[in-house]
Amino acid sequence: MSNIEMPLVLFSVLSQTAIGLTIMNSGRQIAGDDFIGEGRRQWGIVLAFLVTGMVASFFHLGHPLQAYTALKHLSTAWLSWELLGVSIFLCLALFGFFTEKEKKSGLVAFLTALVGLLTLVFMGMTYAPPGYPALNNALPMVFFLLTALLLGTSFSAWFTPSEDRSWLCRILTVSLIVGLVVYLIVPCIWLSGGTVMAQTAEAWIESPLYWGRIVIGLVLPLLLIWKIKDIPPWLPLIILIGELLGRAAFFQETVHAASNIGGL
């Protein structure tokens, strides 16, 4: 059992939402999707998620004013890369926000999305430390990609006219099913791993946060989409709540290797 790390929960989920949204945006711009006038608003929402997340992340630090020094260790520390990635992403998003008026800016969106995607990779590496055997692998990256995908697609619906949402619905449905499978299978795999992995699995399975994330973040949205056949504006918020619960479980319920020193 670790700390719930609320600042990190908010930071990671919200920044991943921003990245997901940007990727969707970029994809659609490249695909020539036509949503003049929505672009700037979309940059604004991306910035809102990102800035809220980044502000939250400061509360995680013992000494937030020295946060900038975290860029110092690019040679080995993924956290430095994560900060660099998020910072560039922020700059590009700001640029996008201020430059995109009437005209679409496909290149900026593409670049931002690319940086965002890389940042997801850096994040995945940062949160896969040896201290947590259950996470010392590609799983964090998978989780983060899923978060970006789920929230990116669902929030995209805000900027998509209802008649154009059917393909979004399809992507989201598939993502939710993939997410559900991943999140249900992962603890089962952990159960057959070492002691600390198994302990992590048990902690997750016993956690209301985990089941909250499954039900609120995955099952409920699936049922709703199946029923409504659309992504109503409030649906992304439900998925967001699910993601936040899931991330809280990620930080709080994952068992640290040191808790089992002396045990097999």
Binding site: T69, G131, L264
Partner: protein, 188 residues
């Protein structure tokens, strides 16, 4: 060969008395909940008698320290002699090293809002003294050794109950505890 300090933990000699852990507190006066050295009982799956065998562990001063690698502000450095030092004035308290180290060596200091860990008493070592934990051990179960020349054949790097992380290559060597022959009571 280059000097590389590490701890030699003779769990066969160790009596789990916690003297080393307390000697560390006596030297550095860490605040409540911050312990640089902890004495971990070995579970009954490994040693069948409850709380009768122990590993006394602090920082393992790994050859490839994950704390150093993941620290975004370069608050860690590894000395020529292998000692991994945490410089607290650089630390911003991000907790990344604490999350990262599988041996639980860095601890969060709630007063300073920074991490800290065993320094292998490098100031004492530089002054020709033993680290305080080593000096305090009443049964000579804990020693500082130079791994470049250490060659006791009966030692292991990863005894059962000690997380195996070959990438980190912790600078510790162990002798595992033996069981006595137990003559149990006939009447119960």
């Amino acid at each position: 060969m280059k000097k590389h300090y590490g701890f030699f933990i003779d769990a066969e000699r160790c009596i789990g008395c916690f003297t080393c852990a307390m000697a560390c507190k006596n030297q550095y006066h860490q605040p409540e909940t911050v312990v640089w050295r902890q004495v971990y009982p070995i579970s009954e799956e490994i040693y069948p008698y409850h709380e009768r065998a122990f590993y006394s562990l602090a920082c393992n001063h790994c050859e490839n320290p994950t704390c150093l690698n993941v620290c975004p502000v370069k608050a860690y450095y590894k000395r020529e002699d292998g000692i991994v030092v945490h410089e607290q004035d650089k630390c911003i308290g991000c907790g990344n090293c604490i999350r990262s180290c599988p041996y639980g060596a860095p601890r969060y200091n709630p007063e300073q809002k920074k991490a800290e860990k065993c320094s292998l008493c490098w100031q004492r070592v530089d002054a020709g003294l033993k680290p305080q934990c080593v000096q305090s051990c009443p049964v000579e179960a804990l020693q500082i050794v130079d791994l470049a020349t250490f060659d006791r054949p009966d030692t292991v790097q990863y005894p059962p109950g000690f997380p195996k992380h070959e990438k980190l290559n912790p600078s510790v060597r162990f002798v595992v505890p033996q069981l006595p022959k137990v003559i149990g009571r006939e009447d119960i």
